[in-house]
């Protein structure tokens, strides 16, 4: 008898649970729903003031729109670039004002909503590959200028390929939950105790610059860990170094040094921009210097620096490193010293020595491994530091030997652990999806 009662109870319980879950899902779905904003006829390019378009062009450089929204040998801003994430591969959208495949039918309000709320014109939630948790801080006037810039580009008719996400992440309404946790809206707070330049920097960096998108660690859900802002992160298989007090540079970053680095791709005291930082530098080389000075002022304050650099001698323990890493020493002498050794042409042209390379001093060897695997392309205007990749010439073990040697020779830091595995992982993650 009791058993039978329990049976009925179980079923009812189960049914109730099911009904409750269904109701919750419906509520969640209802909460996640966003209305479509009516399509408009593509606005005439002449309807935007030239000054607004120019401002939007500059802001687009600060935000690096073209970097993600342009595929290899594709038209700028026409989308289609694959972005590999732990959750699958996403393809960026076409931002040209093409009515069918781009944003030609988007009103200014629709564009603002996309940037601030992460919702497309049709009401679909956008994946945070678009860093709207940063763009949400951008002022409406700036969003309108960006809109003016985008709507005056030449339309390109090209639809982005479909995303390939791990099931069930393709179900967009799930993103509403993600946003609930990680989208904190509102303008960037200003700090009246800081200079106007610093506040301008805060506005750019926290907003369009979305530096935290790479330089802040993320949790398992892919949201930035706000309590560890700028403590270092990942981008396309590279490691974006910390920009907080744990930044490992050999020489403290000054505002001037950071401005030079961000606009030329190389700082004499800090070595070259590489990997995903290259396109950022290319963009920042094209905006007014005052904007970059503002960014630098803010970031340098995050690092807790700003004073003039100390002049501690730079480590160069050539003999000791060669004893501990004999294979690495030999490989360095033949593969690297031609550019990085004393008497090499780069050294004679004022390029920084490897003792100054932040990648060698970082807690993780990921970026050093990627630099060796992929090399470096000149970041600004195709002109500047150019390093070959060694992915096909050297094996994982050989690259690990070189990295071990470099760490021991050019830093006073403890050896990296598990180098061969890190190199193998970097090789895999650095390859194009």
């Amino acid at each position: 008898m009791l058993a039978r009662l329990r049976q009925i109870g179980w079923r009812r319980g189960a049914l109730a649970a099911l009904l409750l879950a269904a109701a919750a899902a419906l509520v969640a779905l209802a909460l996640s729903w966003r209305p479509a904003i009516a399509p408009i006829a593509p606005p005439a390019p002449g309807s935007f003031a030239p000054e607004q378009v120019a401002r939007g062009a500059m802001l687009a450089k600060l935000g690096d729109c073209a970097v993600c929204h342009t595929r290899d040998s594709g038209r700028p801003l026409a989308g289609g670039r694959p972005l590999a994430t732990p959750f699958g591969t996403l393809y960026s959208d076409n931002l040209t004002p093409d009515p069918e495949t781009g944003i030609g039918t988007w009103s200014a309000a629709a564009f603002r909503r996309a940037m601030k709320d992460g919702v497309s014109r049709t009401g679909a939630h956008l994946y945070p590959a678009l860093p709207y948790e940063h763009f949400t801080h951008v002022a409406d006037a700036d969003l309108d200028a960006l809109y003016a810039f985008l709507m005056t580009r030449r339309p390109v008719h090209e639809a982005a390929p479909a995303n390939r996400l791990i099931f069930p992440l393709g179900f967009r309404p799930l993103l509403a939950g993600w946003k609930l946790l990680f989208l904190h809206q509102g303008p960037t707070p200003t700090d009246p105790s800081r200079s106007a330049e610093w506040n301008r920097g805060a506005y750019i960096v926290e907003g369009l610059g979305h530096c935290g998108g790479c330089h802040t660690p993320r949790n398992l859900a892919g949201g930035e860990i706000r309590s560890r802002a700028y403590a270092g992160g990942v981008a396309e298989g590279w490691r974006a170094p910390p920009l907080d007090a744990s930044n490992p540079a050999a020489r403290r970053w000054t505002q001037d040094a950071l401005v030079t680095y961000l606009r030329t791709g190389i700082s004499p005291d800090h070595s070259a921009a590489a990997g995903p930082m290259g396109p950022v530098v290319d963009s920042l080389s094209q905006v007014p210097e005052s904007e970059v000075r503002a960014i630098a002022a803010y970031i340098v304050s995050k690092m807790g620096g700003g004073a003039s650099a100390p002049t501690a001698p730079l480590p160069d323990h050539a003999e000791a490193a060669a004893r501990r890493f004999p294979e690495g020493a030999v490989l360095f002498a033949g593969a690297c010293a031609g550019c990085h050794g004393p008497g090499a042409p780069m050294m004679g042209q004022g390029r920084p020595v490897l003792s100054l390379a932040t990648v060698l001093r970082d807690t993780e060897p990921t970026s050093a491994a990627q630099a060796v695997l992929q090399g470096i392309e000149p970041p600004v205007a195709g002109r500047g530091p150019k390093m070959p990749g060694f992915a096909d010439a050297l094996t994982d073990d050989q690259i690990a030997a070189v990295l071990g040697y470099l760490r021991a020779r050019y830093t006073d830091r403890p050896d990296w652990k598990k180098l061969p595995a890190t190199v193998a992982k970097a090789r895999k993650e650095g390859a194009q999806p």
């Binding site: 290899d72 040998s73 294979e327 030999v330 490989l331 360095f332 002498a333 033949g334 593969a335 690297c336 010293a337 031609g338 550019c339 042409p345 090399g375 150019k386 390093m387 070959p388 060694f390 096909d392 010439a393 050297l394 094996t395 050989q398």
Partner: protein, 158 residues
């Protein structure tokens, strides 16, 4: 120091310090002319050879790194009397002016064709981007590669 490397299918003992870039071992110890010194910085590709089928810059590959991997140079593709299909294509297209870059071009292109016998135009150009030609022989080099890749060369000459 004596090292053993396999070049074009033949094992060689060479007496060279281990960090010596493969380029100088090939040229000076083994007397091979194909791979050339263009920059020594891994930027121009005149020194391109293959290591286990992958195109590499021999000017920044220490001979000690070769190990058991197979080195292949242009001499290993064919001779003046018996050229490989790609070398023949280069000859038929007269794809050389000073010719200094050409051995590197051939090794670079062969690596692509070995991995993908029918690449499209964009892939060919992207793949060859690592190799410089100053004489401006690019159009003919592309024609030669297209011949072997099976892409029609529209009659652009004359």
């Amino acid at each position: 120091m004596t090292l053993t490397i396999t070049v074009n299918g033949t094992r060689h003992q060479v007496d060279a310090s281990p960090e010596t870039p493969l380029l100088y071992v090939l040229r000076d110890d083994l007397g091979l002319n194909g791979a050339k010194y263009g920059c020594g910085l891994g930027q121009c590709g005149a020194c391109t050879v293959q290591l286990d089928g992958k195109a590499v810059f021999s000017c920044v590959t220490p001979v000690a790194a070769v190990g058991e991997r197979a080195v292949r140079t242009v001499e290993g593709l064919g001779t003046a009397d018996r050229m490989s299909p790609l070398q023949q294509a280069f000859r038929e297209e007269q794809a050389a002016q000073c010719g200094y870059c050409i051995a590197g071009m051939i090794m670079r292109a062969q690596a692509l064709l070995d991995a993908d016998p029918h690449p499209d135009e964009a892939k060919i150009r992207a793949h060859m981007q690592t190799n410089l030609c100053r004489c401006g022989t690019h159009m003919r080099i592309l024609r030669a590669i297209r011949r072997v890749a099976g892409i029609p060369n529209d009659g652009a000459a004359a």
